[in-house]
Symmetry: C2
Subunit: 216 residues, 2 copies
């Protein structure tokens, strides 16, 4: 996975919108084209580029219609400073990744204290190591988030599993009232209300004065 290639792809607003849409549900070309207000030809062109970079894959359903979905996800980090231009891209790490060295990441250094060049250089070394560990930990977290969302989607009987996961994600972020949840998942309030009612019956969410929240 090449960072420059990823940045070229993500530098186009319509390709970003396609990825955002596919991260919510697999789609046919016509759906994407209608959603974006862009010709099917242009959509196909974008999808071809995203497929070539292995970001998107396609399958043919029972009606022999081709639909597109995000294959496995990725992470991209860019950090720019007056001393450094760094890009890093990677797939989410698998659950099997050895995180022994990251299990208890700790930021216990105080770089303001260094008094000579030797100490500054060793601070530099420590900070670079910490940066790499944090990146690795984030890849691991992203992989686990996807696993957990898949598990949740599998266990939700009937209803819209994906919408349910999205609503849980919004509430995992913070307590929100119906209009806010509805806006953030981009679904009509009555639809969201139905899902919340189901989740509430299962004891997963509850309504408080401040809005809907995850149950403890």
């Amino acid at each position: 996975m090449d960072s420059a290639e990823l940045l070229d792809l993500l530098g186009n607003a319509n390709r970003r919108r396609i990825l955002r849409l596919l991260s919510r549900k697999p789609c046919y070309v016509t759906e994407i084209s209608e959603y974006l207000g862009v010709s099917p030809k242009a959509v196909i062109d974008h999808l071809r580029k995203l497929e070539a970079a292995n970001l998107v894959e396609s399958r043919v359903d029972e009606q022999r219609r081709k639909y597109f979905y995000i294959s496995r996800g990725f992470r991209l980090e860019v950090s720019v400073s007056p001393y450094d231009f760094g890009t890093k891209s990677a797939y989410p790490a698998s659950a099997g990744l050895d995180l022994t060295t990251c299990r208890h990441l700790s930021i216990d250094m105080d770089p303001g204290d260094a008094s000579d060049l030797g100490e500054l250089t060793s601070d530099l070394e420590q900070l670079k190591r910490l940066r790499d560990e944090l990146s690795l930990a984030q890849r691991w977290v992203q992989g686990r988030l996807t696993d957990v969302m898949e598990d949740i989607a599998e266990r939700i009987e009937g209803g819209d599993a994906r919408l349910t996961v999205e609503i849980l994600l919004v509430l995992a972020d913070r307590t929100a009232d119906l209009p806010e949840v509805s806006r953030r998942v981009d679904a009509p309030p009555p639809v969201v209300e139905d899902v919340l009612a189901v989740l509430s019956r299962e004891g997963l969410v509850e309504q408080t004065d401040a809005g809907w929240t995850l149950s403890d």
Copy 2:
């Protein structure tokens, strides 16, 4: 700082090359133009966009020539999964940032164990919180890296402070022989050798069988 705007800017290979060049040293338009093999007019156009986004600033030197440099740096993260499309951009965090909650980040969860929806939802919540903490910690690390590099540059007497910092950064990453260091900092071996000799006299680096390395 808007992620979409950043991605639009970074989606251009020449703008990335300009940022990479400026992260190594402040430059005049003619220098950038010669380095990239691109017309001054095109360079000015890119610089104008980078300035408008507050990524780059300019100053006028004693000879009244305008030079450009990276103002304060930034971080951008993109994470895409079959369930989520997320972008996050931020300035490096200042040293004063309260990191109490992140000081002992620990990854002590085992998401594979969750057996029901309630547990999965609480895993989801924990993972999202961890993700936010890791991002915050990375912003802090990036800010400290810049501080330390500035401190080092200030303490290096004579010589090319910036090149010295770059060489230290390369060695902080891993032990490397002269040709490798020279290639990674993009400077001629004799120039790099002089800097290494100075650093070696100050006891900051030493030559081993495997190449140059930071002293303990």
